[in-house]
């Protein structure tokens, strides 16, 4: 094979690759695109059957967003999502960091068993246990309270984060903490001064994961919450913004776009951490 045919073949391969990629990206990005442009169209345009629906023709309007803030409980949902997610992320990370440190360094009796159990629990989906949890939440008097989510979300987050952090902590050389122990550091100092700084990428990946799971949760809030003042964004947008038989697609899409924004923005800025977290432990998909 001459160099020239080789080069032209390489070119052909690349063109084919970009062609395939383009198809994939159109498939992947069409729904968010469609949601975004619908939220910016006038009702008249959404309901009209004239012209090309794939573009905005009658001018951009922010009326749907304004209505969302002024006429619906959207801001309450947003606030509730934040109120749930912040403590969930904090609690989950605290539990995970402590456990991961113990499991990766303090090799005690039963550490292996707990490690395996953590992994198996990570594989338990929310749809397996929501019915007994519904009863338990009821017995605790937390039904129709957003705080029930603060209680149960860590079960979906902690196992993965612990698993991920064990991996990060394991990559820290053993000599480092042996030296620190001889110098008189205790385990707490070692964790805070040595492990946490070294494992920052892992901590960030785990935090993003915790945020995303908590922000996107749908089954638990749908099962545990029923009044509008307790709803979070996912359930609030899906259940409460649909009123009657007439769907206000513009408003609905505006709500969905705003609710999607925080995790998507977080991802845009911290993509590399996110992906390294994904591939180091395999999350769900």
């Amino acid at each position: 094979m001459t160099l020239r045919t080789k080069r032209s073949r390489r070119k052909l391969t690349l063109v084919a690759c970009y062609g395939i990629l383009l198809l994939f990206v159109v498939f992947f990005l069409f729904p968010p695109y469609w949601m975004a442009i619908t939220s910016l169209k006038t009702n008249h345009e959404i309901e009209g059957l004239k012209g090309i629906p794939l573009i905005i023709q009658e001018g951009v309007t922010f009326q749907h967003y304004r209505d969302l803030f002024e006429k619906t409980d959207f801001l309450i949902y947003f606030k509730n999502s934040v109120l749930v997610t912040v403590p969930v992320v904090f609690i989950s990370m605290l539990i995970s960091v402590l456990a991961a440190y113990a499991l990766s360094r303090l090799g005690f009796l039963g550490a292996g068993v707990i490690g395996t159990a953590v992994f198996l629990v990570y594989l338990v989906p929310d749809s397996l246990l929501f019915i007994p949890l519904f009863k338990i939440i009821g017995m605790l008097g937390l039904l129709n309270s957003k705080w029930s989510l603060v209680l149960v979300y860590p079960t979906l987050i902690v196992p993965f984060c612990t698993w991920l952090l064990i991996g990060y902590f394991a990559s820290i050389p053993k000599e480092l903490d042996e030296a620190a122990l001889v110098d008189g550091a205790n385990h707490w100092q070692m964790l805070v001064r040595i492990f946490l700084p070294v494992a920052v990428p892992g901590i960030i990946a785990a935090t993003i994961f915790a945020f995303t799971v908590s922000w996107s949760g749908f089954l638990y809030p749908l099962a545990f919450l029923f009044s509008s003042d307790q709803q979070v964004l996912t359930t609030g947008t899906v259940t409460s913004l649909i009123k009657g038989d007439v769907y206000h697609w513009g408003g609905l899409m505006a709500g969905a776009v705003l609710a999607c924004l925080p995790p998507v923005l977080l991802y845009v800025f911290l993509m590399d951490y996110y992906i390294s977290g994904l591939t180091s432990g395999s999350t769900k998909g």
Partner: protein, 309 residues
């Protein structure tokens, strides 16, 4: 060491913590380890382990939760037509969705891996967007895409000269529609895992086989696939669990309809256990998922042990 001296040492240690020696501290490792794991153990025991057994207990009660009925709920479900439709749909959904996610994810990973390294990042980033959006909300977007008269999908079909389809109101199209959304959502996950796998294959393998005159297909068949066998298996099993437990997509798009044709275990359990209030029956439905999940989990664990050893 006699019991008295042990007590003495402990008492001394309590009185003068500074005197603790390194050896003594190493012995206390276990205690600290257990203490640090305690929140985790409480969480898993209280909110996963206990609910699991409580779920079994619930599934053995009658509708009003006043009396034990043994396996009556399970036996009853086996006589209900809808339940068998749920079984069928769950397997169809999982089988088709996982198969296509794996095929498309692999294709995408290979394509991205062929690009010059500089360009890979942006395509990888764009491809991961569906996986980052909260699924319940993107399902809402899909719901609007499937809307028969005013939305995009049928408009595009009309443009291509194809008659419009009742995406969510006719059973077989509804099944197709919910599976398509799952493929849309999950393909990026497969892509990212396979891409990481592809990067781990030493380049020399490809170079030497290229010198030996192997075609691109042969390299894929005899190098890439065997090297990724374990990762492919683990990812497929993993996705099987998650896909089998799907809730959001179906709940938002069809609520199990039309005519119960798109219910899977999770949505059917929700319908019975929460929406209509028959908690024991709902618990029984979700417990039917357990064997599938347990078998997949067993093989995943085995696969992971193998790959780390």
């Amino acid at each position: 060491m006699s019991p008295t001296t042990t007590v003495d040492v402990a008492a001394a240690a309590r009185a003068h913590p500074a005197r603790l020696q390194l050896g003594r501290r190493l012995r206390s490792r276990s205690a600290i380890g257990v203490l640090m794991c305690l929140p985790l153990i409480l969480l898993i025991g209280g909110l996963v382990g206990y609910p699991f057994f409580y779920s079994i207990y619930l599934s053995l009660l009658n509708k009003r939760e006043t009396a034990f009925v043994g396996l009556a709920n399970f036996r009853y479900l086996l006589t209900v037509d809808t339940f068998w439709m749920v079984v069928q749909m769950s397997f169809l959904f999982t089988g088709l969705a996982v198969l296509w996610k794996a095929i498309l994810g692999f294709t995408l990973a290979v394509v991205i891996n062929t690009l010059p390294v500089r360009g890979q990042r942006i395509w990888r980033g764009l491809s991961l967007i569906p996986w980052v959006m909260p699924l319940a909300l993107s399902s809402l977007g899909w719901w609007w895409i499937y809307e028969p008269t005013h939305s995009a999908l049928n408009w595009i079909l009309a443009l291509l000269g194809i008659s419009p389809k009742p995406w969510l109101s006719e059973p077989s199209w509804a099944k197709f529609s919910v599976i398509l959304v799952n493929i849309w959502y999950g393909t990026p996950f497969f892509m990212i895992i396979y891409l990481a796998g592809l990067k781990s294959i030493p380049n020399e393998l490809f170079e030497s086989s290229a010198i030996d005159g192997a075609s691109a297909w042969q390299r894929l068949r005899f190098i890439t696939l065997p090297m990724l066998k374990n990762i492919i298996a683990i990812t497929v099993l993993f996705s099987t669990i998650v896909t089998f437990a799907t809730f959001d997509i179906i709940r938002v798009l069809t609520r199990g309809g039309p005519r119960q044709s798109t219910h899977v275990f999770a949505t059917y359990a929700f319908e019975l256990g929460i929406a209509t209030g028959d908690v024991p029956l709902g618990a029984a439905v979700s417990l039917f998922m357990f064997p599938i999940l347990a078998v997949s989990a067993f093989f995943i664990l085995r696969g992971i042990r193998r790959s780390t050893m």
